[in-house]
Symmetry: C2
Subunit: 138 residues, 2 copies
DNA sequence: AAGTTATAGTTAGGTCACTAATATTTTAGA
DNA sequence: TCTAAAATATTAGTGACCTAACTATAACTT
């Protein structure tokens, strides 16, 4: 059935995309997901963990563990907020900042590959449909 | 940029879909991914682990662990192949068979929700684009 | 027939997700 | 003011993924 096919295609595409992207990131000693967290910090440094939760659309413990891993790699540092001692703010180190360009290049590469042979008109339509689907999820 | 947006939408849709579906499956005491393995067995019982790897598009250790978990729940049993002793074949128990209908119902529900307000024509076009994208991945 | 190569599966160790339970700090209400 | 509730983050435990390294069996190869 058509609907089943679409769901299966979506599953396949997302899992394979993740796998491929993970391979690309391996050269940079990063794991898929970590690049995403760094990406939020490149846009806005010093975010709290709760803010990261929201932006990454995942739960608090996931952020705790990812932050721990990235800190061990020396890409970020954690600093307690002075005014509210419950809050930990996450800051990029120089090493973390240096990854922005290479990660973006990998991302772009992956991106372009995915949309090969799809015209601009089709991409615009595709976006419209995906926006509708995303809205349906909530 | 358009391409970025499409990738981000795909990521969001797939992760949220997974999350939602996982919640639905929770009622059946199943984890997302496990239903997929069972699904292959409903179509063809007694598959080997390698066959499951290929059909599920995942690695051997993943299957080993999933099979272990499903066996512990009493949904499948593992049986050594008589002719080739390297091979383990996986068979459904009655409990495993009984899950087919309820899981399909959850799947259908999730499906329909995702494609709400998308016309038949649009779905056909969407499928075409997704097939193209899937092909681009390899 | 003996030794090499290929195949099937497991174990160990890692990451990304989740939930449930906990400690700590802050805020708000009686 | 003092206590209850809310917010922030962590720990513990689980499962789906992965790679690398291993065991066991089967199939070639010379």
């Amino acid at each position: 059935m058509l609907n089943d096919e679409i769901r299966e295609l979506l599953d396949k595409i997302s899992s394979q995309t993740r796998r491929n992207y993970n391979h690309l990131l391996h050269d940079l000693n990063l794991h898929v997901g970590q690049d995403n967290l760094l990406c939020k910090l490149w846009r806005e440094d010093g975010l709290t963990q709760v803010e990261l939760c929201n932006k990454l659309n995942c739960e608090a413990p996931t952020v705790t563990n990812m932050v721990k891993a990235l800190e061990k790699k020396g890409l970020i540092i954690r600093r307690k907020d002075y005014n509210d001692k419950r809050i930990t703010r996450i800051f990029l180190t120089d090493a973390g900042k240096d990854l922005e360009a290479p990660v973006n290049e990998k991302w772009r590469k992956q991106q372009d590959r995915l949309l090969t042979d799809i015209t601009l008109d089709e991409r615009m339509l595709l976006r419209r449909l995906l926006i509708q689907m995303e809205a349906n999820l909530f």
